[in-house]
Symmetry: D2
Subunit: 144 residues, 4 copies
Amino acid sequence: MNEKARPVLTTAEVNELLATIYPELNAQLGSYQAVDVFPGGCTVRLNADGRHLRPGGTVSGPSLFTLADIGGYVCVLSHAGPDALSVTTNININFMRKAEAGPIDGHCRILKLGRSLMVFDIDIVAGGQTVAHATGTYSIPPKP
Amino acid sequence: MNEKARPVLTTAEVNELLATIYPELNAQLGSYQAVDVFPGGCTVRLNADGRHLRPGGTVSGPSLFTLADIGGYVCVLSHAGPDALSVTTNININFMRKAEAGPIDGHCRILKLGRSLMVFDIDIVAGGQTVAHATGTYSIPPKP
Amino acid sequence: MNEKARPVLTTAEVNELLATIYPELNAQLGSYQAVDVFPGGCTVRLNADGRHLRPGGTVSGPSLFTLADIGGYVCVLSHAGPDALSVTTNININFMRKAEAGPIDGHCRILKLGRSLMVFDIDIVAGGQTVAHATGTYSIPPKP
Amino acid sequence: MNEKARPVLTTAEVNELLATIYPELNAQLGSYQAVDVFPGGCTVRLNADGRHLRPGGTVSGPSLFTLADIGGYVCVLSHAGPDALSVTTNININFMRKAEAGPIDGHCRILKLGRSLMVFDIDIVAGGQTVAHATGTYSIPPKP
């Protein structure tokens, strides 16, 4: 992102919105939250526990994918506005290292915020190491 | 896949193995299973219910991603052998249409089965429509 | 693609169009052509020669990527119409085997043809083997 | 990349190596070069001219893909050593904005340098704007 779009929601507003529109997120999937929203990006966190592990005791791919997807969703909600009924159209994720239970942070950058598409990437970091990286696209529906 | 590698496990054996090595899969994530294993590929199924939905009442991206990841895992287990401690290194997924609760089938093809990498793709079909498509790579550890 | 959209251009019309709007294609990049257009997809070909090789004497990644990109472009032109000034927004490509000089065919499927996005995949085959596979998205501009 | 692997070749050595092992690169494909090699990454450049344009007068997707592929190759050569006969196994590229003829810089980060795989990403910048972003994997053959 070059023009550093300014967010239209605060971190607290995004978390309230997530809890309202997506109650399954934490009931079913565990502890996902926005921890920061800033011009051109955001930081999201997974507090990984036993529910997020796969064979071998490491955090599962779907749990990290969910963090990436939520990172993009927080970028869209915070920068394109809370009424945007946006959907993911594509995510590409690389898994690089194993992550153990504990806090896992996703550092998101908005690479493009167009009228109909937002492109972002996310560095997923645990224990000081990049454990995964993803790039994705959200489709933003036209404003009424 | 061109040489049509033959599976070394049956569908029933794969499901038993999944239940043994990955008990969280169905306890936490819901109803994922292998429904067919054949030379060069497999079919996996998600019986999507309320746990798998996102805002709007459609099956969530992470639920479809999980089906893709399991499709690749079933391909590796069935074709490279049950002792392979393989891990996903990359998945790219495109979401094309909304899917409602109900059975969702993933039709997997092994595109390459090498010594250290397996590449596969998966057509994810619900209600007669392709709702998502993914391509992925598993890393296969060296045999001892 | 499930609804099997019908093409609005023949194979010959697509090749004429490519030669008109993209003269650099064959002057600079070599011999790329459409060899078939059918409902829901197309086949494109690269006649690979010395210009397309990389160290080791095999067809280069960028040459195969170009074939994938042209496969998507032929899908859009033939199915969404010749006036569509479409652009690629994303391509993910896996390289599986080495390909030697000679004809290389790309078998394309349209996975979704929406109003603003087309998603496709392509199996790239040389010497009877799948040498690469790609998935991509074209953005289709609104009709005036 | 977290451990900031140190390069084993200088920028000048990488450019000499590219000219020796890949003479087609600049004869056929135009002006690609390494402009910097540093711990954990590199910068590569395409001096885009008429040969790299597509319909509409903007730099073509395959030209930007080639820059991404070379960025990964320079990362491998400089950090894993000049004798590594590495090949690309996967690249995912997002095209975000149009780029005009002129210098186009690719800023590469090594996300993981393992024994058999290297994962990298690249921000492709022209005229102060990110025009494309790619992520890729190179397979590194075992040392003899």
